[in-house]
């Protein structure tokens, strides 16, 4: 590592597809070394499709079970995902497809089979919302469907089945702050849900979707969380008081430089213009693991805070020496350190700094962040572990043309729990940007292969990214749940906001015309086919005569509303109390909340390879295990 110095230029757009170590990066470096000249490798649009790692196309079969009290008593998921020709991050994706839908709901049982298959297509890898997006869409659409069958409001169903703050999911994830309930309540209110849901005329619909995502992967990519920290930040302050921050976090347009500067400025009571960020050269910056897994704000800002706290204590010691005031009475204000109870007694920031520098010169500090020990021991338990989780709930309002199958998303109300918005503008930007990206996946973007195996739409004219005309009016709603371990309470806002837009649009399309589409993207031709099928089923000639779905509440609705109210009080109490009792998933089903369910029930075991019994009658993913090669032609 000491032989190579990487200069990072400012580049925008990460989205996961560039996290692999690519051959062309090595080629460029070696060529440059050999030739002693700068080397640049550029791709045309078609080559980008081969190189960049996109999202895994997946077939997901999912069974959701609910009991007569409206509890989500089981989720069975079977996912077959198309990995393309190389591994990339595929193993992680395979786990994520399962484990990332075990929250925010309390579930009675969980079973997941996943297989990633090799195909002769470009490799799939990590992409914004890594592994969680597709299965999340399935869960949320499933919940909409189950609520329809139970004749209850899907938001009430969700509100009555949420995990409380400071709890553990069925797979043993430690969940700290949860703003899910507030997200749901806010979007319900802002969108006028109760007046619109199942009440709008044919062709107009409204739908809800939720999301849950990790805020920094618990297991670092160097695989040794006990030996090395996740993130490190170095600080240096010299005579003039300006702070130089060395961090390796790559700012790829998400504003990581800003957030690190803000954290240091906040701790030291300095204006932002006194902070300089040096994050572009590996010779001077500490090792950083990269901008992935929505980890930068959480981990780097925490490391920056810990480094700044060290400097802060040096400054307080120096002040205490000058003023003879006890350290615990001192506070830092705007470039001044003074007694809390007697503000007149104090010194300026520079005085304290110069005193602290007397014997040692510039103040230098190093801060690091490491995740606390988490998770269980079973194989795969580390996938999806994170020091905190973000939550979100979106409501989408759509207009569907029943004759052509064209869907237009008109409005989106997007609530995201990011713990604490350190940079509200950036959080809003992430939410709106996520809506755009998710709209592409749910309505139009698709890689199409012809009968010869060629990718047919290798250009931006035929790869249909939504244009400004397709973009709905998005109302971003920031929910702050103040995470106890996040920097100033913050969690991620980069990937989580993408998840709920897909199911929200799918459910809104159902609300508009009563037709479910189980294949994405919902292009007009696909939806039109389903509309035609529905018309044939109902023996209707003109799709304009289709019945619009309506809802008459069953008795269960009252039960759910009552439980939601009780849970709301429970959640508030758990959030405010300082002595937190453990709460393990399963308490809603009468199990002991203080003990993990697998320790109570021996039959709760984790198998990694499908059982013989399962393979006798395999479903999608199981069939990949017993797959024999087939070749077929046809478009």
């Amino acid at each position: 590592m000491h032989q190579i110095n990487v200069h990072r230029t400012f580049v925008g757009g990460g989205f996961g597809g560039k996290s692999d170590p690519f051959p062309h990066e090595m080629c460029a470096s070696i060529l440059a070394r050999k030739s002693g000249r700068p080397v640049r490798i550029t791709f045309d649009r078609e080559e980008v499709y081969w190189i960049n790692r996109g999202r895994h196309p997946s077939h997901i079969e999912m069974n959701l079970h609910a009991d007569d009290e409206g509890r989500l008593c089981g989720i069975e998921t079977d996912a077959l995902i198309d990995g393309g020709a190389f591994a990339s991050f595929g193993h992680v994706t395979t786990y994520y497809n399962g484990v990332l839908h075990t929250a925010p709901y309390e579930i009675g049982a969980f079973h997941y089979t996943g297989a990633r298959v090799w195909t002769n297509k470009p490799a799939s890898g990590a992409m914004r919302g890594h592994g969680a997006v597709n299965s999340r869409c399935a869960v949320e659409v499933g919940i909409d469907d189950i609520s329809e069958q139970l004749q209850v409001d899907p938001i009430s169903f969700r509100l009555a089945n949420l995990l409380p703050p400071h709890s553990a999911t069925i797979t043993g994830f430690r969940v700290t702050s949860i703003g899910m309930r507030e997200c749901l309540e806010r979007v319900m209110k802002e969108s006028g849900w109760k007046e619109k849901f199942r009440k709008m005329p044919l062709g107009h619909g409204i739908g809800i979707g939720c999301g849950f995502f990790i805020s920094g992967s618990g297991l670092p990519i160097h695989w040794d969380p006990n030996k090395f920290p996740h993130a490190t930040v170095h600080l240096k302050i010299d005579m003039d008081g300006g702070v130089t921050v060395h961090t390796g976090a790559a700012d790829i347009g998400q504003g990581s430089d800003t957030v690190v500067a803000q954290s240091v400025a906040e701790v030291l009571g300095l204006p932002l213009d006194m902070i300089r960020i040096k994050s572009r050269e590996t010779d001077t910056s500490p090792v950083d693991l990269g901008s992935y897994s929505s980890r930068v704000t959480f981990m780097n800002a925490n490391a920056a805070i810990s480094a700044a706290m060290e400097i802060r204590s040096d400054l307080l010691n120096a002040t205490s020496e000058i003023t003879k005031a006890p350290i615990e009475k001192l506070v830092i204000g705007d470039r001044r350190i003074f007694r809390k109870d007697e503000p007149a007694i104090g010194v300026s920031y520079l005085e304290a700094l110069h005193k602290a520098q007397e014997d040692r010169g510039a103040l230098v500090a190093s801060g690091a962040y490491r995740t606390p020990p988490m998770g269980r021991a079973h194989k795969g338990a580390a996938a999806g572990l994170a020091p905190a989780y973000s939550f979100s709930a979106y409501v989408a309002e759509v207009k569907v043309d029943v004759e052509t199958g064209q869907t237009k998303v008109e409005k989106v109300w997007a609530a995201h729990d990011c713990g604490k918005a350190l940079n509200p503008l950036a959080v809003k930007g992430q939410i709106i940007g996520s809506c755009h990206m998710g709209m592409g996946q749910v309505l139009s973007e698709e890689m199409r292969y012809g009968r010869t195996g060629n990718l047919m739409n290798t250009d931006l004219l035929d790869y249909k990214i939504p244009s400004v005309h397709e973009m709905p009016h998005v109302t971003p709603i920031i929910v702050e749940s103040n995470d106890p371990e996040g920097p100033f309470g913050a969690k991620e806002a980069g990937e989580g906001p993408l998840l709920p837009i897909l199911p929200a649009v799918c459910n809104a399309v159902y609300d508009a015309i009563g037709v479910r589409t189980n294949e994405l993207p919902i292009t007009p031709d696909r939806l039109h086919k389903n509309i035609e099928r529905k018309c044939r089923e109902l023996k209707i000639d003109d799709p304009n005569d289709l019945p619009s779905p309506r809802l008459e509440h069953s008795k269960l609705q009252d039960t759910l509303e009552k439980r939601a109210k009780e849970h709301s009080i429970r959640d508030k109490e758990r959030r405010l109390t300082s002595e937190i009792e453990p709460y393990h998933n399963g308490a809603l089903f009468g199990m002991d909340p203080t003990i993990p369910p697998d320790e109570v029930d021996e039959s709760w075991e984790v198998t990694v390879i499908p059982s013989e019994e399962y393979l006798e009658n395999p479903r999608l993913a199981g069939s990949a295990w017993v797959h024999t090669e087939r070749r077929k032609r046809g478009i």
């Binding site: 078609e46 052509t404 035929d462 244009s467 397709e470």
Partner: protein
């Protein structure tokens, strides 16, 4: 992906342009006309039949005339859409072409003579090499058509331009010029059923302007277009309908379609049948079904042919909606 080099000529009058074309022809050198370049340049970048010489028409002010009855070949699409002289239906179709940036550059002549498009043709050179080329750009290999294999006589690439169906309904006439003189013909006769030949332009011939009969200003109508996005996308199907009523009675109706075959379709008989047996909504339904049966799209664009045919029916119904209300 570098564009092959070409020599650019920039004549300032039609005569000069023709002379340049003539001298190139006499030297056996091939060339292309370029007006807005929004279609030709991307094709050149993909090495789709690039020529050694390109004659630009940008400096010829004679070709930018725009009145109620005359539209020059070099009139920019956005100017046509915004002009007070333009018939509202023509303005609607012009305004729906691609995006505003392309409309500011693209021209009327270029849109009418638009190259046909196909998933197996509009691809990079490397891509096309992997399928051993195709009929339309066979690079001297005599390759077969990839959309409908086992026939290498006809190219089925799709004509995806918006102006032609409306202008056909207006019975517009195209005016052509070449070294052997001027000629004019109905736009309806201008197209030739073959994705490679596309139209009746001879080598070295140039579309100077189109003329529209004066009485068209009293006609009403509509243009309907199918596409995934409201911007950029070429029409996957398009239907233009223009009609004339006298004292509330339907007198004449013309219907044309685009984006479905190698040339735009003009449905004279079907329109006439409707006028003769006009019975309101039922007639429109009957006509829509007839038009659905009359068009034969192939699988070489974003939507499936089956869907495009079904949508022609819906588009026709919507384009003719005005027949009922007035």
């Amino acid at each position: 992906m570098k564009m092959p080099p070409f020599k650019l000529y920039s004549p300032s009058s039609v005569d000069e342009a023709i002379q340049i074309a003539k001298s190139l022809q006499s030297k056996q050198e091939d060339f292309d006309w370029i007006s807005g370049g929004t279609d030709l340049i991307p094709n050149y970048k993909w090495h789709l039949n690039p020529k050694k010489n390109v004659i630009s028409l940008a400096n010829i002010s004679q070709l930018t005339e725009l009145t109620e009855t005359t539209i020059g070949g070099m009139v920019r699409l956005q100017d046509l859409a915004e002009s007070e002289f333009t018939h509202p239906v023509l303005a609607k179709s012009a305004n729906s072409i691609a995006s505003i940036m392309i409309r500011r550059s693209g021209t009327v002549g270029g849109n009418i003579c638009l190259d046909t498009r196909c998933y197996w043709y509009n691809q990079t050179e490397d891509w096309r090499e992997t399928i051993d080329w195709c009929h339309k750009c066979d690079c001297g290999t005599g390759a077969d058509c990839r959309v409908i294999p086992n026939q290498n006589t006809l190219c089925v690439a799709t004509y995806q331009a918006d102006l032609a169906p409306v202008l056909m309904c207006m019975e517009a006439r195209v005016h052509l010029i070449s070294t052997s003189g001027k000629r004019e013909m109905n736009l309806i006769d201008f197209f030739e059923l073959d994705g490679m030949k596309k139209n009746k332009l001879l080598p070295g011939e140039l579309l100077t302007h189109i003329t529209i009969p004066e009485e068209i200003s009293t006609w009403s109508g509509d243009y309907q277009k199918l596409r995934q996005r409201e911007s950029w996308d070429f029409p996957e199907a398009g239907v233009a309908a223009l009609w004339k009523k006298k004292e509330g009675k339907l007198e004449k109706l013309r219907i044309a379609t685009t984006g479905l075959e190698s040339i735009p379709g003009y449905h004279e008989d079907l329109a006439m049948e409707l006028v003769e047996n006009w019975e309101g909504e039922e007639s429109i339904k009957y006509l829509s079904e007839k038009i659905r049966k009359a068009v034969k799209p192939v699988p070489n664009t974003w939507y499936t042919p089956a869907y495009r045919r079904k949508m022609v029916k819906v588009l026709t119904k919507r384009a003719c909606k005005g027949l009922l209300s007035e």
